[in-house]
């Protein structure tokens, strides 16, 4: 066989896979440029045109630091790890799942292309070795108690807080490896975990750490016998137990009727038996200055009335009791990240919550503009503002767009409590007031539009930099009509009377038959 023939055969054998790889890379680049580069940047540095409006920032592929992996701290992710992020997206971030939008081959091609942004993937000494995670031991109350003990003893609370709401003492100082601000995860909102919220997912994150973030790996602590694998599993089970299922959003808050005085304080145990409604909040991105990084992502709302007065309790998670100078550097990082403008003054602002209604109950579906109304059609609001070392203040007022709020004298009472990363504020007001042209007159049995706004002062939020909700509804239960109580009594009495009549008649019949 001539050597030329041999070479030809070799080319035939070798070339097709090489060409296929080149094709896949070209395809990966095409998909990347079209779908990914807006956020992740043309060169994969996480600096695309849309990146500036995102916190957390899009992944910078050039350092090959991936948070959600199956490999030890510092190791590259496996192809499957990257595919999982592409397919399913990353909860709590702007990264969507692509499995329903791109073909399997396109997704795989783009995964391959991502790896070309870092030389580490081409380095043959960098082979990702997934951790053998094993499987969870039984859970249950004892396991969760053990997990809680380790949560406290190994210091998780230092960042994540005593109740897991991300309000630990070190929380204000946290940043990612590129210096962008970073919140300690609120462990009671598992639906926002980028690596998933099951005990398995959490255990995996404890073993691998989240590379590029302050979250370390606990694998070495296992090797050093600082705790056992079972104890680490129990810690994961405890953390998983802190989150309820993602709350469903219902459109109508039912304010039940309560006999007697309404609970006035947030800690009143009467609130425990009142139905709670969750409403998601999003950044205010309609008016300048737009706000892309709201710290408050949802509020829980409860309401009661007693025919004279209404009480509304609003509860939300907030990592800081503002104003607090400990968060100044964090505010500077947030502003720098979102605006690239170092001249925006950094300050300490209070926390705020606003509950918004129209000024009168609409007859149809017409409602004022949800974003604090307008000059032509203002809205009626209750606003509560925190104060350093004080109880805070609640005011009612009229908003005419986000720039203008005119407070009234008094009008609404407010009591607040801050506990382990959670605010709870109770607003109380008479259903009817004298100023019916500016203040909403609450009436039972009607759908009253309601919306919510929240500000975390220690995240730099004030004025238009806030979290907003859509319009929802509040419905006050009608007073129970008297007939509801009387009818059963009448019915029972009638039944008794008819029954006695029937018995008497029967007895009489029996008597006459005996006579015959």
């Amino acid at each position: 066989m001539s050597s030329r023939l041999l070479a030809g055969a070799l080319v035939l054998l070798v070339a097709p896979p090489a060409l296929a790889a080149q094709d896949a890379n070209d395809r990966g680049k095409t998909v990347y440029v079209k779908w990914c580069s807006q956020c992740h940047g043309e060169d994969g540095a996480g600096d695309g045109p849309a990146a500036h409006s995102m916190l957390p920032r899009p992944r910078d592929f050039t350092a090959a630091l991936y948070q959600v992996r199956s490999t030890p701290s510092g190791q590259l992710p496996t192809d499957d790890d990257i595919m999982h992020a592409i397919d399913e997206g990353l909860p709590g971030t702007a990264m969507p799942g692509w499995k329903d939008r791109l073909s399997a081959s396109d997704r795989r091609a783009v995964m391959g292309y991502l790896k070309t942004f870092s030389a580490f993937f081409a380095d043959s000494t960098q082979r990702p070795q997934p951790i053998a995670f094993g499987s969870a031991p039984g859970g249950g109350a004892d396991a969760i108690r053990t997990g809680k003990q380790f949560y406290d003893s190994i210091g998780c609370f230092k960042c994540h807080g005593a109740a897991g709401r991300g309000d630990g003492k070190s929380a204000p100082t946290l940043k990612d490896d590129n210096g962008f601000p970073m919140f300690a995860a609120d462990l009671s909102m598992g639906w926002q975990f980028n690596g998933g919220s099951s005990a398995n997912d959490i255990y995996h994150r404890l073993r691998t750490g989240l590379d590029g973030t302050p979250m370390p790996s606990f694998s070495d602590a296992l090797d050093a016998k600082m705790l056992t694998d079972q104890e680490l599993w129990h810690l994961a089970q405890y953390v998983a137990s802190l989150s309820p299922a993602k709350p469903e959003v219902r459109d109508v808050i039912r304010a039940g009727r309560h006999e007697g005085a309404l609970p006035a304080t947030p800690e009143d145990s009467a609130w425990k038996s009142v139905e709670s409604y969750f409403f998601p909040l999003a950044g205010q991105i309609i008016r300048k200055p737009r706000w892309f990084a709201p710290a408050v992502t949802g509020v829980w709302v409860q309401a009661l009335h007693n025919g004279d007065t209404i009480a509304v309790r609003v509860t939300w998670h907030d990592r800081s009791q503002s104003p607090d100078t400990a968060w100044l550097a964090h505010v500077a990082r947030v502003y720098r990240s979102l605006t690239q403008d170092d001249t925006i003054p950094v300050g300490t602002w209070p926390d705020q919550i606003a509950v918004q209604f129209p000024r009168r109950i609409p007859d149809g579906m017409e409602r004022p503009y949800f974003l604090m109304g307008s000059a032509q059609e203002p809205v009626y609001q209750w606003r509560w503002t925190s104060a350093r070392g004080g109880p805070g203040t609640a005011v009612a007022g009229t908003a005419r767009g986000i720039e203008r709020f005119d407070a009234m004298n008094g009008g609404v009472a407010g009591q607040a409590r801050y506990d382990s990363g959670e605010w709870s504020v109770v607003f109380k007001r008479a259903l009817a007031t004298a100023d019916s042209s500016n203040e909403l007159q609450f009436r039972t049995g009607r759908a009253i539009p309601v919306a919510f706004f929240a500000w975390d002062g220690s995240n730099g939020e004030h004025d238009g930099r806030m979290a907003v909700s859509a319009w929802y509804f509040l419905a006050l239960d009608e007073p129970t009509p008297l007939r509801v109580y009387i009818s059963p009594v009448i019915a029972a009495a009638l039944t008794l009377a008819l029954g006695m009549l029937w018995i008497r008649r029967a007895q009489r019949g029996a008597g006459s038959s005996r006579r015959t």
């Binding site: 350092a63 630091l65 701290s73 510092g74 190791q75 590259l76 580490f120 000494t125 960098q126 003893s153 190994i154 210091g155 230092k158 960042c159 003492k169 070190s170 100082t173 946290l174 490896d177 750490g209 590379d211 590029g212 973030t213 302050p214 979250m215 370390p216 790996s217 606990f218 694998s219 070495d220 602590a221 050093a224 600082m226 705790l227």
Partner: protein
């Protein structure tokens, strides 16, 4: 015949020995030493508020400060990493010492604050505080790590496979804790201490670029020619910019 076999055997062993030692380890008898001078106003390092960590705070009689610029009593500058940047004979090889360099976390600070290791040499990371530290390395040429040491007594070995000056280390639980490690493929490095001097020993004769690195004031280089034996002095002067 037996003598021939023996000779061949010996020859092969010798070749093997030479092969094993190649690339060769270059060790000389020259020393570069010097002083890190500091001129200008002595900066004040910010105080560290350790009130959150009583176990650390009680290890200090006076309030601890950051170690960004440590000016010694004799006016010299400590924590300057001085190393041979270039000039070593090509093909030289310097096996990593088997003894690890100890990095201790004590009183919520790193000891030492600036240090060097050879490529592949272990750093033994110790926790002498009865509380949680995480140790995060943020290299560029190496892969990073971020490990937790939840309580006192824990030791974790880590090594870097690639040369890199400098690799920042930090603790995220205690935002004030940081340290720097220089990773080099040879043993010709030194860190200025409390007397402000540095000493690099065992250099073969040659002309070297010596770099001095400081975490705030950046780097300076000097060219130094040394004979086969003896000592050469090379001082550096840093000043606030």
């Amino acid at each position: 015949m037996r003598r021939l076999v023996l000779a061949i055997g010996l020859g092969a062993a010798l070749v093997g020995l030479v092969a094993a030692r190649s690339p060769r380890e270059v060790q000389g008898g020259a020393t570069v030493t010097g002083k890190i001078k500091f001129t200008g106003a002595k900066p004040v390092n910010p105080k560290i508020d350790m009130s959150e960590e009583a176990a650390c705070a009680k290890k200090y009689t006076t309030a601890p400060t950051a170690e960004t610029v440590v000016v010694n009593a004799n006016g010299t500058l400590a924590n300057v990493f001085v190393y041979v940047k270039s000039g070593l004979p090509a093909g030289g090889s310097y096996p990593a010492p088997a003894t690890p360099v100890v990095l201790d976390q004590d009183g919520c600070r790193y000891h030492p604050h600036v240090f060097g290791v050879q490529v592949g040499q272990n750093i033994e990371i110790r926790n002498s505080d009865p509380l949680l530290h995480n140790i995060k390395a943020k290299p560029k040429a190496n892969r990073p790590f971020n490990i937790s040491q939840p309580s006192a007594g824990m030791k974790t070995p880590r090594a870097f496979p690639a040369a890199e000056v400098m690799v920042p280390l930090e603790c995220n639980v205690h935002g004030w804790m940081n340290a720097f490690v220089g990773v080099l493929p040879h043993p010709f490095f030194s860190v200025s201490g409390t007397d402000g001097t540095f000493t690099i020993k065992g250099l073969p004769a040659g002309t070297y670029t010596i770099e001095a690195w400081h975490e705030k004031y950046g780097t300076q280089t000097a060219t130094v020619t040394v004979p086969a034996t003896g000592s050469k002095t090379q001082d550096f002067t840093f000043a606030p910019k």
